[in-house]
């Protein structure tokens, strides 16, 4: 039981890391290698506000989200839109996006170093045990899981019920056809990208309550997020949630029953195995 809960909680963390990228890659077709840096920026904001003014990270997210939204919207409009326009094919856009966002990740790390230095930022928030079914869990992780659940449920409902959400899903499925039914694809792509960035930054703020970050750690999160998104299937919220939970449970199971030294290796092995048997991920459509 406690393994199950531990795994689920870790899965929630992973969902926070990956959900934003899923929107960015699934809808806007931008494989954003600067995703992890956006997460670290969210985490840093939470750290700064908490240490400076004892502002709860859970309140910080209401500042982080709109700011990150605007920033990412600008990034898309200014930097990525021209690439989308000039790309002749999906493959070319992917290649350009990899290069651009890789450069962007450098710029963001550089800005963070310049502004805040390279030190670890680490603080203690809600680091006390909470008892669930007779076992101890970190309150901050449980809270993070709650945030992840709310965020995922919210996104899922919004994408499936609201008009804008449906339009975004239409773009995810087929930008060409979405255009034909009168959806403003560039506008929605920008919004989805911005929303993805906001979600990632919020995730970073929440995660910083229990993970120690520094300006250079972003790439680790980018890699995890990429793996989860690909495992779940591009452009499907359910897939990402499922993949995050599977990964969380898998790592916890391996850590508990086999050898904690193999958790990360097992995570990659799981990812590789899933890709081999289901190259399009859990919920993905066949890659074209």
């Amino acid at each position: 039981m406690d393994i199950l809960i531990t795994g689920l909680i870790l899965g929630g963390t992973y969902a926070l890391i990956a959900m934003g990228l899923n929107l960015q890659y699934g809808v806007s077709r931008i494989m954003n290698l600067a995703n992890g840096e956006m997460l670290v920026i969210g985490g840093f904001t939470a750290f700064a506000l908490y240490t400076a003014g004892q502002v709860s990270p859970l309140l910080t997210i209401f500042i982080v989200a709109p700011v990150a939204y605007v920033l990412n919207w600008l990034v898309y409009r200014i930097m990525l839109r021209p690439l989308v326009k000039r790309a002749k094919s999906r493959g070319m856009l992917e290649q350009d996006a990899i290069l651009t966002t890789f450069g962007l990740s450098f710029v963001m790390v550089g800005l963070m170093l310049w502004a805040f230095g390279g030190d670890y930022f680490s603080y203690s928030y809600l680091a006390r045990p909470v008892v669930i079914f007779g076992d101890n869990f970190g309150l901050n992780r449980v809270v993070a899981f709650g945030c992840a659940a709310l965020l995922c449920a919210g996104l899922y409902l919004w994408l499936n019920v609201s008009r804008a959400g449906m339009a975004i899903r239409a773009v995810a499925v087929s930008p060409e056809n979405a255009r034909l039914v009168g959806i403003d694809v560039p506008k929605l792509s920008a919004r989805a990208f911005a929303l993805g960035g906001a979600v990632t930054a919020v995730g970073g703020a929440v995660i910083s309550t229990f993970l120690t970050l520094d300006a250079s750690t972003g790439v680790m999160f980018t890699m995890k997020a990429l793996i989860i998104v690909i495992m779940g299937g591009v452009g499907d919220v359910r897939g990402t949630i499922l993949a995050a939970l599977v990964l969380g449970l898998g790592e916890t199971l391996v850590a508990t029953f086999i050898d904690p030294g193999l958790t990360l290796a097992a995570a990659y092995a799981l990812f590789i195995a899933i890709l081999l048997f289901r190259p399009q991920g859990f919920f993905g459509r066949k890659p074209t």
Binding site: D119, S124, A255, T263
Partner: protein, 399 residues
């Protein structure tokens, strides 16, 4: 080189405000290479860079280093090696040949120092490492004559931690059951490889033992399993992110052992800052004599000058390495590095960490191995010849 003139202009401007007399002499060019980005940037930002800033500031405020009867200002050229040994090598080369550096400071971390060792050796520059812990000191100093080691042998660091536990056990304070974990990365593996046989040789019962990869996001399965094994002592050969993570998990799991040890970064001020009173009684790698006026004075100056607090392990050693270099240069009165190196080998030095004297293998044999958080400071409790060790206390819960 445009940059050089720019640097020169700014340092000279700053210098002239403090000591106008120094204008006459050419500055001494000090080269510094260490991570500002990459995985080790966080550690270097605590332990390495602030010391260089402090040293240069203080020396220049004094009017510079006296070389050959002439006071010369220091001019630093800093390079970021991105935690990449290839960049370290390139940057040291660049300092030596393009920037004509008079002094090159040792890089940061075991790996980067060793990558740079062949060039320092070829250049004939002394490389006083303050953040390299290795067991190959004999072989290394035989191959690289100019390489000095301040931080000691990794085996001592691990063995002494075990010794502290053994002493607590002999005193009847703790039982015989030890849970040991380690991060599966270079230094963590090395420490565990020494620590495990040491624990066994000391007659401890290893009730739980495992490793975990660097960057494990959730350490709770490990802590749960460790707790389930009901240990009397918990030992983790850990690295910065997981040192924090393991401590937090121990609090959450209410792992109430009487001896709790985490390795690298326990001595960081950020550790005490994050865990506050809960850190009381936590043991870790390193330590200093916090009661020594020299260290207290150094800590105060560092914070005043750079805004950052020293860590209680390698920071002081880093500053000591600069003091040694300074004394060697000023006493010999030359920038001839062969002479400076020989002076370092032949003499002993008074530093913020106490007297330092290198042995035949260029090793500083007296260093701190284990420290413990006591009353908001990380005090040295075990050493290989330092004064001021305090007695260890037992960990009493996490409140």
């Amino acid at each position: 080189m445009k940059r050089r003139t720019f640097f020169k202009a700014t340092t000279l401007l700053a210098a002239s405000l403090v000591a106008g007399a120094a204008m006459a002499a050419d500055p001494i060019i000090v080269g510094a290479v260490a991570p500002k980005t990459g995985p080790l940037a966080g550690g270097a930002a605590v332990t390495h860079w602030p010391n260089i800033a402090l040293w240069v500031k203080e020396v220049n405020e004094r009017g510079g280093l006296t070389v050959g009867g002439e006071q010369r200002m220091l001019e630093v050229i800093e390079y970021d090696d991105q935690t990449n040994p290839a960049e370290t090598i390139k940057a040291v080369q660049r300092l030596a040949t393009q920037d004509d550096a008079d002094i090159i400071l040792a890089p940061y971390s075991t790996g980067l120092n060793l990558a740079a060792a062949p060039i320092f050796d070829r250049l004939g520059f002394p490389q006083i490492t303050s953040s390299a812990a290795t067991d190959q000191i004999g072989e290394l100093s035989a191959q690289f004559n100019d390489m000095f080691f301040l931080l000691g042998r990794s085996s001592d660091l691990a063995e002494d931690a075990v010794e502290v536990l053994a002493e607590l056990r002999e005193a009847g304070e703790i039982g015989n059951r030890v849970a040991m974990v380690n991060v599966a990365d270079a230094f963590g593996i090395e420490l565990a490889a020494v620590g495990k046989p040491a624990l066994e040789a000391a007659g401890f019962e290893l009730v739980y033992e495992t490793s975990y990869p660097l960057g494990t996001p959730d350490l709770s399965p490990i802590m749960k399993a460790a707790k389930a094994a009901e240990p009397d002592a918990f030992v983790a050969w850990s690295y910065p992110p997981d040192t924090f993570g393991l401590t937090e998990q121990a609090m959450i799991e209410e792992l109430n052992v009487k001896a709790f040890y985490t390795a690298v970064a326990t001595a960081f001020p950020a550790y005490g800052g994050r865990f506050g009173a809960a850190a009381e009684g936590v043991m870790g790698i390193g330590g200093v004599n916090t009661a020594s006026p020299a260290f207290q004075d150094y800590a105060a100056r560092l914070e005043a000058a750079t805004g950052s607090k020293p860590d209680y392990w390698a920071s002081g050693m880093m500053y000591a390495s600069l003091q040694i270099l300074e004394e060697a240069i000023e006493t010999t009165g030359t920038l001839d590095m062969a002479e400076v190196t020989q002076f370092i080998k032949d003499n002993s030095f008074e530093t913020v960490m106490g007297t330092i004297d290198f042995d035949d293998e260029n090793n500083n044999t007296a260093y701190w191995t284990v420290g413990q958080w006591q009353g908001g400071e990380f005090k040295g409790i075990k050493e290989t010849g330092r004064e001021g060790a305090v007695a260890p206390i037992l960990k009493t819960g996490w409140e």
